[in-house]
């Protein structure tokens, strides 16, 4: 009989892990709390560094799920350890017994409104990185100006921010900001685009090339300084204050649109499951892996594994690689 594996979270990590487990001869059961699969990526427009369409990635992953049992609109109500398996109660009333569980619960975007000084939800033209992607995907957003002449990006919103409860770097936002800055400049060549950053953390393949392109080919202004305060002018535009720390002077600019690069924080549904399974939470609020070098996929509890952003900020390729590795690791666990 095929061994059943519960995968919690139908984002890209859960989908890819399900596809791989299916190929390895297991019986993955994929639980997703929303209707659509693909999680945050499904709402994203283009993926760096090759500007791959996020939709095409999700479609491809979804196509690999034939034969996989997918529970949509479903949540895990409770989960209990049996002798060498887990008994799972789903919100649709079904009870499952599975040999292994993969947490692919991903992340939640930091609530930008918590940084009150940036006026998200208060000022007319302040959006988040995710709002901008959704708008680029064709969802209308009344906060988006008609023909912007000036657009600003604020890096590190809720990241590297001890006061916001997140001392960690969210890692992907710098590159996302550079990507989105270029995309805005392409759409609105007459607009000046400003990126307000604390450090530019462009660590991945071809990220630095993007940055050079943003400077040289798109004339994007990079200002090293964190935005301190946002206000609204009489015509509903956004006034932004920062210090240009390289120049050593305060700077001010009036923008038609301000985009807040909200960071990643651990998905609260993972934090809710953690006590039931006696899983530990790491100092950054994400699930704690057995170790952060060779044991990232392992929870330290038998039969419970991790993949993707439930253990920390991950890029899309990192998440997919972890999903594949987790499938293999689970397969080995079931064989033993």
């Amino acid at each position: 009989m095929k061994e059943k594996v519960l995968i919690i979270g139908g984002g890209i990590a859960g989908m890819e892990a399900a596809r791989q487990l299916q190929a390895l001869g297991c019986s993955p059961l994929l639980v997703e709390k929303e209707h659509g699969l693909g999680g945050h990526v499904a709402r994203w427009h283009k993926l760096f560094p090759d500007m791959l369409s996020a939709e095409s990635l999700v479609t491809e992953l979804e196509a690999g799920l034939s034969g996989v049992t997918v529970y949509r609109h479903t949540e895990v109500k409770s989960i209990n350890r049996l002798k060498d398996s887990y008994s799972v109660k789903l919100s649709n009333g079904e009870n499952l017994v599975v040999r292994a569980v993969l947490l692919a619960t991903g992340f939640r975007l930091f609530e930008a409104a918590k940084k009150e000084e940036y006026g998200y939800g208060v000022y007319d033209h302040v959006v988040t990185n995710a709002d901008l992607e959704a708008w680029m995907n064709g969802f209308p957003d009344e906060r988006m100006p008609e023909a912007p002449r000036a657009v600003g990006f604020v890096h590190c919103v809720g990241s590297r921010d001890i006061k916001a409860g997140n001392s960690q770097c969210s890692k992907v936002c710098c590159m996302t900001a550079v990507k989105q800055a270029i995309e805005m400049r392409e759409r609105y060549p007459q607009a000046e685009v400003y990126c307000f950053y604390m450090d530019l953390r462009l660590f991945g393949k071809k990220y630095e090339d993007f940055y050079i392109g943003a400077q040289r080919d798109f004339g994007i202004h990079f200002i090293r300084g964190r935005v301190s305060e946002v206000g609204e002018t009489i015509d509903g535009r956004v006034q932004v204050k920062a210090e240009d720390t390289l120049l050593g002077k305060p700077v001010k600019v009036i923008l038609d649109l301000l985009v807040l690069m909200s960071g990643m924080v651990c998905n609260p549904s993972a934090s809710a499951l953690a006590p039931q399974l006696r899983l530990e939470i790491d100092s950054d609020g994400f699930l704690r892996s057995r170790d952060n070098v060779a044991g990232i996929l392992e929870s330290g509890r038998p039969g419970i594994f991790y993949a993707g952003a439930c253990t920390g900020t991950k890029t899309v390729p990192e998440t997919l690689a972890e999903a594949r590795a987790a499938a293999l690791r689970i397969y080995q666990y079931l064989q033993a």
Binding site: G121, V122, Y123, G231, I234, G236
Partner: protein, 356 residues
């Protein structure tokens, strides 16, 4: 501006304000700057709304100005404050309401410091006992007087003789609110509405029929800045901060400014004269400035109290443009008559800023 977004933030920063029985700690400078404000706070609280507020001649300054000007150490400021608490305790009160924002900030800071460092509180108790043989209980509730006025805003609106509405057009008057820095910037949860979008004054304005102006430099300091003003060589910085605020609010054409701090109305009022003399610029219509009020003065006007009894003749920037818009009845000739119609003499008028 998305009003709902502000309401959401306001709901996160609600503060418990008991309705009655307060020990009132006056400000050391307000009685000179705005001589009737404290009187009318007591008048409105006690006689209009029937609340019990204790006012004693035995209390002193809180030491806040000296503390913020680096003249006295914090332990001295704490001992002064401990004595105020002792008076409150002796008179049988548990709730302390401060007239001054810096006092409120000072009291809050001291209570928070004692919470973190109980050994310091023990030492201050010892200091107080040695210096004046007094003992004290800490206040159960601490409020700024504008918190109480905020709580009473609808009671005042019910008794309103005038509203913050243009009597000719029926349009709400556009009012700038300015919150003293020490109100909630140090401890956002101690202020009504928090520190970024406080609603303590905007709530009063809206309740009395006005409309709030939210301009880009709303959160900026009034310009007092203690040493920026107190040291004459730094005074250019003080007036420059005020200038920055007026430049930012100018396009909104505000009809008036409401404040809740002793320093803010003083500097927003007086510096308009200095800015006018130095740059030739005025911010109201026809050469007038933008009238600046304390929240007690504005509450008094709404309740129909004679503007000259409210001490509005001591303002540098003429208040008459706002009185006329509200339709407040006043006798221009009585402006410089004091108590018992004593002639206060007319001040020299500035050369640029238009005044009466």
């Amino acid at each position: 501006m998305i009003y709902k977004g502000k309401q959401k933030i306001w709901s996160d920063y609600q503060k418990e304000i008991p309705d009655d029985h307060w020990f009132y700690a006056r400000s050391c400078i307000r009685q000179n700057f705005f001589p009737a404000s404290e009187k009318y706070f007591l008048e409105i609280g006690r006689n209009v709304l029937g609340r019990d507020i204790c006012d004693t001649e035995h209390h002193t300054t809180c030491g806040g100005i000296a503390y913020h000007s680096d003249v006295i150490p914090q332990e001295t400021a704490m001992t002064i404050v401990a004595r105020q608490f002792a008076l409150m305790t002796e008179m049988g009160y548990r709730n302390l309401v401060a007239s001054c924002i810096t006092s409120f900030g000072n009291y809050t800071e001291i209570l928070e410091t004692w919470r973190e460092f109980p050994e310091l509180e023990a030492r201050i108790r010892e200091h107080l006992w040695k210096s004046c043989r007094r003992e004290f209980e800490k206040p159960e509730y601490l409020a700024h007087a504008s918190d109480l006025m905020y709580k009473w805003r609808n009671d005042i609106a019910e008794r309103a003789q005038y509203r913050l509405v243009n009597k000719d057009t029926g349009e709400p008057l556009d009012i700038v609110e300015h919150i003293g820095c020490h109100y909630s910037k140090m401890f956002p949860h101690k202020g009504v509405g928090g520190a970024e979008y406080p609603c303590v004054l905007s709530g009063m304005v809206e309740s009395w029929g006005g409309r709030i102006v939210d301009y880009p430099e709303r959160r900026h300091c009034c310009g007092f800045g203690f040493r920026q003003y107190l040291v004459k060589a730094n005074r250019g910085y003080s007036v420059s901060n005020t200038y920055k605020k007026f430049e930012s609010m100018e396009p909104f054409h505000p009809d008036g400014i409401i404040t809740n701090c002793p320093g803010c109305p003083y500097f927003l009022d007086r510096w308009q004269y200095v800015i006018a003399e130095q740059t030739g610029k005025t911010y109201g219509r026809d050469g007038f400035g933008i009238p600046v009020f304390t929240y007690e003065e504005l509450a008094g006007l709404v309740l129909g109290i004679n503007p000259w009894d409210l001490g509005l003749q001591l303002h540098q920037t003429a208040v008459e443009p706002l009185l006329d818009k509200m339709g407040v009845a006043y006798v221009p000739a009585d402006k410089y008559l004091g108590l018992n119609r004593e002639d206060l003499l007319r001040p020299e008028l500035p050369s640029v800023l238009k005044c009466f």
